[in-house]
């Protein structure tokens, strides 16, 4: 043996000592220096705090029957720490059971916002560390293969899952709303990631009330995720129920009639929107609110497909026409013009001239069908919907208030009454996204001009070069209109006043606004905020009532409203809606109403009928509207009549 061997052995020993020291140093570093952090991380490894879902509150109709309930479905949930988006075999067999293609399943595993994530709702929304729900709302049979062959589906579990159910035979799509996955904003505001959020209608407006508060529990799990122990930290607070004034029966009639008539109108090639609103005149409660187009609310329960969503938003079915659609009210506006006339000193007992045409300022304004009635009472003018009588009155008022010299910031008497009646501002109904509509007035016209004048002037200068190629006459007409608007669009002209008097021009109302205004006419002249929810019922059964708010505005005097009510009663007996009410027991159950046929450029008239009844002591106001449907006395009046049939037959307590 050599000395060099011995020396190398000693060097070798030193190397080994160095290795030992490295191990000891690292051990001390992990256990003593960083020990706390590691212990904490290890703790979260086996101890998890999980939310306990709070059952969401129900939405009940006026008889206490559920419109929205909860049903227990099954959800297929995947532990994303076990199953990866590229586990093709597993995803394929999972897809086969769930009847989904593997790409869809795989997309559900990738958190939204990750580089390769699919767009919502296909990606995994919510907490990136939480298990991903592949499909919810499943029956026992659907998930049977997964439960039976659990060993073939590692990381996949079937969990009970509460979902919204709609037991009533109505859609009520826009009123009830739907639930969706929480988005980033919800999460930032502290919403739990695995609890759905109300996205529209009552579900959105009363989301906090309905959702309650989830509880929390701490669970101890082993590496395979098996729960070994559970400890309650905080119990869940169940959501409260919403009691509403909605009547399933009336809603059902409204929806059915809307659908029937819309189908007929659509068969002529039109694309109608429609709505029915029924208000309780006394309380302001909404008895029915239907809109067309609508959708089946169950489409949201097990996650809407991308195609369905696109279809819904493109067809406009997500829009709640009753509160979000703005339409010219046409002649249904005349009672408010009449109140303005009275305010300006007109006497309702006078007679009014109703010629076929009324010419002023170089323009000719016509009656519907150029009919002439001679000198008639105001009541008769309402009954037969005479335009010219109102044109003449509006012309006089326009001159009285200053004619062309009326200031740009002012509003005229008609607009004043319209605003008191609630037009031009949201009604305050307990739904999100309500539209304001608009009231025609000198101010409104000036504001519009301010906003649009540049575009008008530019278009007038250009002279529609493209259109001129094909239709020079039309291009010339457009250019003239734009030139006129550009030059003097800020002035409140005679024509504007006359149009406004018969609910045309700049005035736009929602069906709900019209119903609220008619309810005020029917009752004590006081405008009320409509309410869908009448009370909130807590878990313990106690009810917090929600009262309708009365606005300070009064429209008209008692005698004026009485006069108008009497006049409008004649609309259904011998006036423009008489045909629609043929066979209705108007003697015992008189209905007062007013038709409207609002002109819209290029398409058929918007059909309106606004009513209240029974006329001697009104309880309900019913409004129907359908665009591109023609005269109000036909489509809208027929829909309203059917609703009254239901209201009339329903026992008192069920109305």
């Amino acid at each position: 043996m050599t000395a060099i061997s011995t020396r190398r052995l000693l060097v070798f020993s030193i190397v080994l000592v160095g290795m030992a020291l490295a191990l000891v140093g690292r051990l001390v570093q992990l256990q003593v220096v960083g020990g706390g952090d590691y212990a904490m991380a290890a703790r979260s490894n086996h101890l998890q705090v999980v939310d306990i879902a709070a059952p969401r509150g129900l939405i009940l109709d006026r008889d206490g029957r559920p419109l929205v309930a909860n049903s227990t479905g099954l959800a297929v949930v995947v532990d994303r720490s076990v199953v990866k988006p590229d586990d093709t075999d597993l995803l394929r067999s999972l897809g086969r059971v769930l009847e989904l293609d593997p790409e869809t399943v795989s997309a559900r595993l990738i958190p939204c916002g990750a580089p390769k994530a699919a767009p919502p709702p296909h990606c995994h929304a919510g907490d990136p560390y939480a298990p991903a729900t592949i499909l919810a709302g499943l029956s026992h049979d659907r998930v049977q293969p997964i439960v039976e062959r659990a060993e073939d589906f590692p990381g996949v579990s079937v969990e009970p899952d509460s979902e919204r159910a709609y037991p009533a035979p109505v859609r009520l799509s826009h009123v009830l709303g739907y639930l969706g996955q929480p988005d980033q904003e919800d999460l930032d505001s502290g919403r739990p990631a695995d609890v759905l959020v109300g996205r529209a209608g009552l579900e959105q407006r009363y989301d906090r009330v309905l959702s309650g508060a989830p509880g929390r529990k701490e669970i101890r799990v082993d590496a395979s995720g098996q729960v070994e122990q559970e400890q309650l930290i905080e119990a869940a607070v169940p959501g409260s129920d919403l009691l509403t004034s909605l009547s399933t029966k009336v809603q059902r009639t409204a929806e059915r009639k809307l659908r029937e008539h819309a189908a007929m109108v659509a068969s002529t090639g039109a694309d109608p929107r429609g709505s029915v609103v029924v208000l309780d005149v006394e309380s302001g409660g909404v008895v029915a609110m239907a809109s067309y187009p609508d959708y089946d609310p169950t489409i949201w329960t097990s996650g809407i497909s991308q195609e369905d969503y696109r279809h819904l938003s493109e067809s406009g079915a997500l829009l709640n026409t009753a509160v979000q659609g703005g339409f010219a009210p046409g002649s249904t506006f005349k009672p408010f013009t009449a109140l303005a006339m009275a305010q300006q000193g007109a006497d309702f007992t006078d007679t009014y001239s109703c010629p076929a045409q009324y010419a002023t300022a170089g323009r000719v304004f016509r009656n519907h069908g150029d009919e002439a009635y001679g000198r008639i009472s105001l009541a008769r003018a309402i009954e037969v919907s005479c335009n010219t009588a109102f044109y003449r009155a509006a012309d006089r008022m326009w001159r009285q208030t200053g004619g062309d010299r009326i200031g740009a910031g002012e509003i005229d008497p008609v607009a004043e009454v319209a605003q008191s009646a609630g037009f031009g501002s949201p009604t305050g109904v307990d739904l999100a996204g309500e539209a304001s509509g608009a009231v025609a007035s000198p101010k409104a016209k000036y504001d519009l001009w301010e906003q649009r004048k540049e575009a008008w002037c530019r278009a007038a200068d250009d002279g529609y070069p493209v259109l001129r190629e094909t239709d020079p006459a039309r291009a010339r007409y457009f250019t003239e209109v734009d030139r006129a608007n550009c030059d003097e669009g800020q002035y409140w002209r005679q024509g504007d006043a006359l149009n406004a008097a018969v609910g045309q021009g700049l005035t736009l109302v929602t069906p709900l606004q019209l119903a609220v205004a008619y309810a005020a006419l029917a009752n004590d002249g006081q405008v009320r905020e409509p309410r869908i929810v009448t009370g909130i019922r807590g878990d313990d059964g106690s009810v917090i009532p929600i009262d309708s708010v009365r606005r300070a505005d009064l429209i008209g005097t008692g005698s004026q409203r009485r006069y108008l009510r009497a006049a409008m009663r004649r609309v259904t007996t011998s006036g423009t809606a008489a045909a629609a009410f043929t066979g209705f027991p108007l003697g015992s159950y008189p209905i007062a109403g007013k038709t409207g046929s609002a002109q819209v450029d290029g398409v058929a008239d918007t059909s309106w009928f606004a009513s209240f009844g029974p006329a001697q002591k009104p309880r309900f106001a019913v409004v129907a509207m359908m665009s591109e449907a023609g005269a109000g006395g036909v489509v809208a009046a027929e829909i309203v009549r059917a609703v009254w049939d239901t209201l009339r037959r329903a026992p008192q307590e069920q109305r």
Partner: protein, 396 residues
Amino acid sequence: MTQPPSVRYVAALPAWMRRLDLPLLTAALSLSLLGVALIWSASGSSALLSDAARQLLSLAVAIALGLLLLRAEPRALRAWAIPVYLGCLTLMLGTFSPMGVSVSGARAWLALPGGFTVQPSEFAKLGLILILATTLSGSLVTGQAAGVRKAAGAVGWAAPYILLVLAQRDTGTAMIMTAITISCVVISGVGLRVVLAGLLTAVALVALAVAAGGLADYQVQRFLAFVDPYADPYGYGHNTIQAQLAIGSGGWFGDGLGAGNQTQGGFVPVNESDFIFTVVAEELGLVGGLAVIALLAVIVWRGLRIALAARDLFGRLVATGVVAWFSFQAFENLGMALGIMPVTGVTLPFVSYGGSSLIAAWLGIALLQLVHRSGSDWTRRPVRDRPLSRSGGELT
């Protein structure tokens, strides 16, 4: 004058046992018994005592076989070198036959009748050490062997083993066999230039193999996970992360045997075997972890002492080989648990669950004891073939 009791006790032992290195034996026995306790804890309530009981049985067999080996004449070891080498080679080849069994990706096991499995590469380490010691001590290379020829011979014997374990996808064992070979060549006294040239050639060959795509995907992934375990926290980085969580949460004194959450929850994979150190560290804390390292250090220290005191180069190289084996394997095993070495499937000698590993380790102890017995007491009479020059330079 009466002798102290211990001496009297030693005197009562048979002659072959009388000259045992007792600290070495004690440390190995302590580690083995601690291992049984840790396996009992790691396998939890599910397996009852069976894993720990099997390990205890293996320990009995291991000690019995060790004692049997102790009865050998040290000289006979040279004669056994080639048969043992060839025997192990045959068994390792057998793992590629239908009798071969794969465990977590490595096809390193042979199925035996009666449900037992054996891992030939564990015993091959012994065969490698014997053949290296024989070759490098010159007995197989006749004439005035140059260092180059010895070293080349050593590498030539080692290469088939290393390539075979690589083929079994057992990178860890290949690394340890390489470490044993390099250690033995260096300690044999071969010229430094030869050693360096050999190392450079080896590095070049490995680089060439890697460049030619010889690195399997799992090797690349494991290396990447070593660099940053959180890059793939549920895949290749999982073991490392969970191991560090277990070790880190142990603190000074640990959670107590059978009370570690990481261990008992089964969060650390293969913690009865490759990651058994996490059980010590979590349940017995820094104190327990240091104790394991200390016991391993005692074995290595006694082994080095035996190598230094060996009567001849053959004995020294046998001892060196065993020391290199234990130390590098322990370093790799503890290092991967602590996150300072890449993850490879090697056991912690004496402690990890596994009969082949335990028996081979005890046969390694027996080899050390044999060398110890054949060398005279070095504290009184240092054994040197030739006197060292005063300058300490090499005399040839």
